[in-house]
């Protein structure tokens, strides 16, 4: 079924050599946290094109698609997916931004409250096929919060999830429908997605997305 432009051997699985390297990093006693790039800009964009194909394959009714990005990482990914979908089927899919912070399950367990990020839902989610877009999924708690938040905006007909990276360690029964790459990790490692600002990106919207990186940082304090 692959009209994906990624060759089949570039499947979303980390190579064994990568895993070995990550483990090395964890065991190092170096005081400076070591980082290594797991996906570079090109690889991320390739994965997003494949995911766009998969999203289209999964629905008979692309008119009802509605991408909802979870900030911060989901937003640049969502923008690229909107572009990709448009190039594939000529449809401009709406993109919402949904902060899940107010729906977190750990708020009152913490000393201080996390900073809120913006929410902008341009149209109703009623009867739409909503695709939540997140950069890194691990425990599944953010996706749970995202689904609860979504339901406050209406009743989508379906909810799907895109994750650039699934790093495992799930704590809730949450399934990712479209994965960029599965990356087995140690719990104390950090997987960080970064999107550089492209030029003139002061006011987000219109302008493109700059260079993308996905790195793994060795364990220790965040």
């Amino acid at each position: 079924m692959a009209h994906s432009d990624a060759p089949p051997d570039a499947a979303p699985h980390v190579r064994l050599t990568d895993v070995a390297d990550i483990t090395d990093v964890v065991e190092t006693d170096s005081p400076i946290p070591r980082e290594r790039t797991i996906l570079d800009d090109q690889a991320i964009r390739r994965a997003l094109m494949r995911i766009a194909h998969e999203i289209l394959e999964s629905t008979d009714d692309p008119d009802r698609l509605y991408l909802v990005a979870i900030p911060n990482g989901g937003v640049p990914l969502g923008r690229i997916l909107v572009e990709n979908l448009e190039s594939l089927c000529g449809l401009r899919v709406p993109l919402g931004i949904l902060d899940t912070t107010l729906y977190r399950d750990d708020l009152t367990k913490r000393g201080s409250r996390p900073k809120l990020r913006r929410t902008e839902m341009p149209s109703s989610v009623d009867d739409r096929v909503v695709v939540l877009v997140e950069d890194v999924v691990s425990t599944g708690r953010t996706i749970r919060a995202g689904m609860d938040a979504l339901m406050d905006f209406g009743r989508p007909s379906h909810v799907r999830v895109v994750a650039l990276v699934d790093r495992g360690h799930r704590e809730l029964p949450i399934k990712i429908d479209f994965v960029g790459k599965n990356i087995p990790t140690q719990p104390n490692e950090k997987v960080i997605f970064r999107a550089d600002k492209s030029e003139g990106d002061e006011d987000d919207e219109a302008s493109g997305v700059g260079l993308l990186h996905l790195i793994v940082r060795a364990g220790g304090a965040s």
Partner: protein, 326 residues
């Protein structure tokens, strides 16, 4: 970082204020939804402890709490045991024993919220104490100005009226100066504290000079019932000299906005036509008040005293020092 309680703008740093305003901006989005409720403070209890009558502030805190899913209990003077001569601290301790997660306090005596913050387990938010501070009002005023002007730094803000008896004025003076605005105050000499300029503002007894080139003109409520005869000869004279109308507003910047903490004495602090229409933004202030108070509740409600990292750290280091640094 913001402490456990919100007692006054004087205690807040510029970055604290900016964090609160930024949080409030995101809370405004919740107020625009069809379902204006998020589960953030579910199972948490907010007690509105009002020793002084207030409809606006109390309602605003109540709606803010409910939009965050907190259980809100209003405890006001008429229904309380204050009429049975229970002392302030006994009342407070009684409420504390019911385990609220945040207590919002208004009292006619300055310093009461501070005293309560010392004895209560729950965080305290000052909703106005005497002529001292009214931090949530000043913060919602700052939020409104940012919404209108895009910034506070570099603006000129003229506060007109009874500066001496106004907690709104005091909190706004602290807030706007901390964020880099030039603040001027004006009123009859009897309403200007002698040392007001030590707060970093310029004092005027001439309205025109005070609002010359101002971006924001903020009129304060005149407590007519209490002050007439004491601080100014007559309401009519006050209105003629310090009441804001379109004529006097011409001295301010062309795009100046007019603010008032409410409730307005129409035709006294503000002319009728200014009360209802732009450039006055009075109803925006009220609307922003809910979002701002949601932000305050979000930032402090349910934060336990023992989890205050600042007090933790200092206790630990003191002990370590006494043990010889182990």
């Amino acid at each position: 970082m913001i402490g456990r309680d919100i007692l006054g703008i004087e205690d807040l740093s510029r970055s604290d204020i900016e964090l609160i305003l930024e949080t409030a901006k995101q809370m405004q989005e919740v107020g625009r939804r069809e379902v204006k409720k998020v589960p953030t403070l579910r199972g948490r209890t907010l007690i509105n402890l009002f020793f002084e009558p207030s409809t606006r502030t109390q309602t605003s805190f109540e709606i803010a709490g409910k939009r965050l899913s907190a259980d809100v209990v209003n405890f006001s003077v008429s229904s309380s045991s204050l009429s049975k001569r229970e002392t302030l601290l006994d009342t407070a301790k009684t409420l504390d024993a019911m385990d609220p997660d945040v207590v919002v306090v208004r009292h006619s005596v300055a310093g009461v919220p501070h005293r309560l913050a010392e004895v209560l387990q729950a965080p305290v938010i000052n909703a106005g104490d005497g002529a001292h501070e009214h931090p949530s009002q000043a913060l919602l005023d700052m939020l409104t100005v940012i919404e209108e002007k895009g910034r506070i730094e570099g603006l000129t803000v003229a506060i007109i009226g009874d500066i001496a008896h106004s907690r709104v004025a005091r909190s706004n003076i602290y807030g706007f100066t901390k964020l880099g605005a030039e603040v001027r105050v004006a009123g009859p000499p009897t309403m200007l504290p002698a040392d007001v300029e030590s707060l970093g503002v310029k004092a005027y007894t001439n309205l025109r000079e005070a609002i010359e080139g101002a971006d924001v003109v903020m009129a304060l409520r005149i407590q007519m019932e209490r002050l007439e005869g004491a601080c100014f000869p007559s309401v009519r004279e006050y209105a003629a000299t310090f009441g804001i109308d379109r004529e006097k507003l011409r001295y301010a910047k062309e795009d100046a906005i007019v603010m008032h903490p409410g409730p307005v004495n129409r035709g006294v602090e503000l002319a009728h036509e200014l009360t209802d229409h732009r450039p006055s933004v009075i109803l925006d202030q009220v609307r922003n008040g809910v979002a701002l108070r949601m932000a305050l509740l979000y930032l402090v409600a349910g934060r336990p005293r023992q989890d205050d990292p600042a007090s933790h750290a200092s206790v630990a280091t003191d002990l370590d020092a006494k043990r010889g640094g182990r």
